[in-house]
């Protein structure tokens, strides 16, 4: 059985004191304990940004890669070792800006990974430029007269493209977020949680502004209905839903056919390649009319 302490390491945390990322870190630890995962069973993948530093602060396997490129790396990890619990922690800039194309196409692939976007509606690490989720009109370091681009609705894109688990969390409610993470990580297939994560340094609104607007999706809501899920994903402004917005059974998992045909083991455990097969394939390039016997039998 794993405990919170298993996930504790002694790395100095580089976030601003009081940053809401601390709550997300806490929710992660609790969720992994609740799921009884041991650190060695978990692999966290991230890009670059404040959010993307999270894997350093939680004892487990991690790949902290390039800005925007966490999803393809995580896809690779999942393909090579489906037994790992692979989790991507990323930011709104990382995932929807620089990494937008990978977001689109990883949805289509449906690897069995969980993607958590710490969405602070801003590029925090680079000091406050607009991100793809910054609301219209907000002024930013690089948009002094206000953002003029329509914000991205990544939840809706996910719902439209076969993602079977789409949720929104709030860093201000650790318990609720922890539950979402437990469900997301347990889900077989691509699961996606966008987390409202107010930045207390560059953000526009204080925590309470969000608290006033956020409401939890009630029990009567049917998360299996795509139309209502799409509608829910577009709710924004005075009322912002958190909870599971869309959940249906996953379509076939990425590389499923290959795994069925070959082996479910981690690739590093695969048997060494069969030389016979290679010789056979190579022989196809040589005229073999019996007049010449095979040169290689080793």
């Amino acid at each position: 059985m794993s405990t919170i302490d298993d996930y504790q390491n002694n790395v100095e945390i580089q976030w601003c004191p009081g940053c809401t990322n601390f709550s997300i870190l806490q929710a992660f630890k609790k969720a992994l304990v609740e799921l009884d995962r041991m650190p060695q069973e978990v692999c966290m993948v991230s890009g670059i940004g404040q959010a993307a530093k999270l894997p350093h602060y939680l004892k487990c396997n991690f790949f902290n890669g390039l800005h925007g490129r966490a999803l393809p790396v995580a896809t690779g990890v999942h393909v090579a070792n489906p037994r790992l619990t692979t989790i991507v922690v990323t930011g709104d800039g990382d995932c929807y800006g620089e990494g937008g194309n990978h977001f689109l196409h990883t949805l289509r692939r449906n690897p069995d990974i969980t993607v958590v976007v710490n969405n602070n509606e801003i590029y925090a690490l680079t000091k406050g430029q607009a991100s793809p989720t910054t609301p219209l009109g907000e002024s930013r370091t690089l948009q002094p007269k206000g953002v003029q681009l329509t914000p991205l609705n990544a939840l809706a894109i996910a719902i439209l493209h076969g993602c079977g688990f789409v949720a929104r969390g709030f860093a201000g409610d650790i318990e609720h977020l922890k539950n979402l993470l437990v469900e997301a990580i347990s889900y077989r297939g691509f699961s996606y949680v966008d987390v409202i994560q107010p930045c207390i340094t560059w953000g526009t609104h204080p925590m309470n502004w969000y608290r006033d607007r956020i409401y939890k999706i009630g029990d009567s809501y049917d998360p299996t209905n795509r139309e209502s899920a799409l509608e829910k994903s577009m709710e924004w402004g005075n009322k912002v839903p958190i909870g599971i917005i869309y959940k249906v059974a996953s379509s076939e998992i990425f590389a499923g056919r290959f795994r069925k045909a070959v082996s479910t083991r981690p690739m590093f455990e695969f048997q060494p390649p069969n030389r016979k097969i290679i010789f056979k394939l190579l022989s196809a390039f040589r005229a073999s009319d019996g007049s010449h016997k095979e040169a290689h039998t080793d």
Binding site: H56, G65, A261, M267, D289, H296
Partner: protein
């Protein structure tokens, strides 16, 4: 025997590829060393393209430009390629246009005598087989094999077509065709770079390829996608080249060998990922199949334009290996070396091929597979007490474990990091140590690099210095220039970064021979060996170097 060069010309979509392949296989099955290369436009139909087949007793594996026999599938093709036909050569075409030719209206014959135009090309193949004096039996076997999936009717039709062409040709040949290709003992592999590479990768234990289609690299992933489940290799078409290399890095981090393949523009997009491989010390093999640039350039032509780019690609400084195999045999061996050294030194390895090597078929008698094998460099988790992914060691190589394999945690980071892979700002100690650790791997890596191949250097006044796929052309150039009384030699590089300890003998005139316009090899060698060059024989029109090109350029510019 004297080498015979056959050119088959026609429009894209007209089937010259099939015609060429069948003829090449036939001659190969007849026991001869065959070399084929193609030149075609970047379009799916139309244009006029050619497929050249060189036939010799021993492997020559270099292109010839002039044709002994030319098969033109349409009038435009005949017009475009006739200038390459030697005076004493033979044209095979549907319409009479010169004296020394075989005229058979393939289309008409097929339609009238075999009731189907689709047999036209096989009539032509039969004719060529006849002209060359090879066995109709051998052709029949190749045809039967080729079409067996299409059913008995199609096979029969093709056999009849071949016979018709063969007969008509041998009749018209009387007194004109002097060639004879009697059956011989030898059996060569007839294989292209893009065929040898995926098999070599499999042999080396590669488990994953992600790539985005790009000529001339696509053949590699195509092959692996087809045979993947048999070979235990997963092949994925990525959404872009950036995803491709990052997926490969994810797989490699997880402990399995991984690769990607691309061409210039796609490689440009991978450059950040190459730097990531360098920083995280995650092995990856990248095939860079060169074609003429800049930008989109000439997608279906050949070049050696990315030597300095590949050696210097990536921000920051980190060890890498750059290999440039000379032919499919060498490519097989270099790919195994690439995977082994990528793993051993935990770094990116770039393998430079080009359209010429990727697409041309070479004759190889034996791949000597028992001389190479994959070697694993993953550490044993049992033998490690406290694991640190970037443990500082003397030779700079830290033990590599797989995440999930044991209780040990594996953390890697693209920021500058400490031994456990966590972000560091300890400039004085940790940062300096990590920079040194990574770069110190170069010292031992240098010891693994093969020396360049030297041919006739001692006796030579003039030494041609080349690299990669032009080896065959260089050797041919030497032969031709020797015949003209020159004292010429060759130094040929296939392992280009880091460069090995080597010194250029004094008192010789050195000239590089390169498929690029700026003499990149010369720039590289000047910097690393302080050798000077009289100049460069450059080819940059998208066609491959040939012995004849080298000979004539030498005579024009360097005598």
């Amino acid at each position: 025997m004297k080498d015979i060069n056959v050119i088959i010309a026609g429009a894209a979509g007209e089937g010259i590829h099939t015609v060429g392949d069948i003829l090449a296989r036939t001659i190969s099955a007849q026991g001869y060393a065959v070399f084929t290369w193609q030149e075609y436009e970047s379009r799916i139909r139309g244009g006029q393209n050619s497929y050249s087949i060189r036939i010799s007793e021993k492997p020559r594996n270099a292109p010839l430009l002039q044709a002994d026999a030319l098969l033109g599938l349409n009038d435009g093709a005949v017009n475009k390629y006739k200038p390459l036909l030697k005076e004493e050569g033979i044209l095979i075409a549907q319409r009479q246009s010169r004296k020394r030719m075989i005229t058979i209206p393939f289309g008409e014959v097929a339609k009238e005598e075999l009731n189907d135009k689709i047999f036209a090309n096989t009539i032509a193949i039969g004719a060529l087989t006849g002209v060359l004096g090879a066995d109709l039996d051998t052709l029949n076997q190749v045809l039967a094999e080729k079409f067996k999936k299409k059913g008995q009717g199609i096979v029969q039709g093709n056999l009849s077509a071949a016979q018709k062409g063969y007969r008509q040709a041998t009749q018209q040949c009387k007194g004109m065709c002097a060639w004879k290709l009697p059956r011989q003992e030898a059996r060569y592999y007839l294989v292209s770079g893009n065929e040898a590479i995926p098999l070599a990768a499999t042999f080396a234990g590669c488990r994953f390829i992600a790539a985005y289609p790009m000529t001339p690299s696509t053949g590699i992933i195509n092959y692996l996608a087809k045979e993947g489940e048999l070979l235990g290799i997963f092949a994925e078409q990525a959404e872009d080249e950036i995803a491709a290399i990052n997926m490969a890095l994810g797989v490699s981090y997880s402990g399995a060998r991984a690769m990607t393949a691309t061409s210039g523009g796609g490689f440009a997009l991978m450059v950040e990922g190459i730097s990531l491989s360098g920083m995280t010390e995650t092995p990856v093999v990248v095939i860079l199949a060169q074609r003429p640039g800049p930008a989109t350039g000439l997608p279906t032509r050949t070049a050696q334009g990315e030597l300095l780019f590949s050696i210097n690609a990536g921000h920051g400084e980190f060890p890498r290996l750059v290999l440039a195999p000379s032919d499919p045999y060498d490519a097989f061996h270099k790919i195994v070396k690439a995977f082994n050294l990528a793993d051993k030194y935990q770094m990116p390895v770039i393998v430079l091929t080009d359209h010429f090597l990727a697409d041309s078929q070479f004759s190889v008698l034996d791949f000597h597979l028992n001389t190479v094998s994959p070697t694993s460099y993953i550490a044993d988790p049992q033998k490690i007490r406290d694991y640190k992914r970037y443990q500082l060691t003397k030779n700079g190589i830290s033990p590599r474990l797989c995440p999930g394999q044991s209780r040990h945690l594996v953390g890697v980071d693209s920021d500058e990091h400490d031994e456990e892979g966590h972000i560091t700002e300890d400039l004085d100690v940790m940062v300096r140590s990590m920079v040194k650790k990574r770069l110190s791997k170069l010292d031992s890596l240098k010891q693994e690099i093969s020396l360049p191949e030297e041919t006739n250097v001692n006796d030579a006044d003039i030494v041609f210095v080349g690299w990669g796929s032009s080896r065959g052309a260089l050797l041919e150039g030497l032969r031709l220039l020797k015949q003209e009384g020159n004292k010429v030699g060759m130094i040929h590089f296939t392992e280009l970064w880091p460069l090995p300890e080597f010194s250029f003998p004094n008192g010789k005139t050195y000239i590089t021979v390169e498929s690029n316009a700026t003499g990149q090899l010369a720039r590289l060698l000047r910097s690393e060996y302080s050798v000077s060059f009289k100049g460069t024989i450059s080819r940059y029109d998208g066609l491959p170097l040939t012995g004849e090109y080298i000979r004539s350029n030498f005579n024009e510019y360097y005598r």
